[in-house]
Subunit: 147 residues, 2 copies
């Protein structure tokens, strides 16, 4: 378990793997992003995705799942203060096997709450071909070690 | 149905409402964000959320659902090129009734693909008390009108 004091800029962590099932892509889309390219492989062929693709928000959710299971093991869990950037340079496809790499870009102690800090973390999500399917920079709350 | 040419900076659209069920908060968390404050109302009391709260990624997914159902009615659907910012100024809670307001911040025609454009859109998600639960700025692909 890592507290704010245990983390340094440049620290790297990893998470995954997570296999993407076609049925999960469709189930997510039905609930949160019901558009043809996320719902139906046949209909998706005639769209710019040229085949079934996961909603970017589904890829973000799967990335969060891998962050929670990662070897960063942050004390207090993973509480996002906000996100500075997300990009989806290529679609997540049925059968993809995803993994993440996390890198601590900044670590600053809170001025108002000096017993905690904020970590600016870049999380990159890769498929089984080491192609990037998502980039993200997020700010995570990191509790300080109890005194 | 609106093409790129039909949209101007300053245009506003709305979506929702969407009611947040406790069971949905837990179901989302079990799949994508299994942390105590999203999984269990009792365990959540002793966390900084002081009660069950939806994962921020669940709020983002519900926001996407309301964008797809909004009165923006973009031709070609809602394809995100990327997100410039997401913030969660307060938690989404069981029983909340969410709605969104969208505002077009920028509209620029693609240089490489002049038959389409990119819209920079601010989407704010409110609860039933008009309190902001999510802010987001995203870039959406907008096809031009067929000639």
């Amino acid at each position: 378990m890592r507290y704010f004091e245990d983390i340094a800029v440049g620290d790297r962590f990893t998470g995954g793997p997570l296999t993407v099932e076609a049925a999960e892509i469709v189930a997510y889309a039905e609930k949160f992003d019901p558009q043809p390219f996320h719902l139906d492989a046949e209909a998706a062929k005639d769209t710019l995705f040229r085949g079934l693709a996961a909603s970017g928000w589904h890829t973000a959710g799967m990335t969060m799942r891998m962050i929670v299971g990662s070897n960063a093991e942050l004390a207090g869990g993973y509480v996002g203060m906000g996100v500075d950037q997300i990009g989806w340079p290529r679609p997540t496809r049925p059968g993809d096997v995803l993994r993440i790499e996390m890198e601590v870009l900044e670590a600053r102690r809170s001025v108002k709450r000096p017993h905690q800090g904020v970590l600016r973390v870049k999380t990159t999500t890769f498929n089984q071909n080491d192609e990037v399917v998502q980039t993200m920079i997020a700010n995570l709350l990191a509790p300080g070690r109890p005194t």
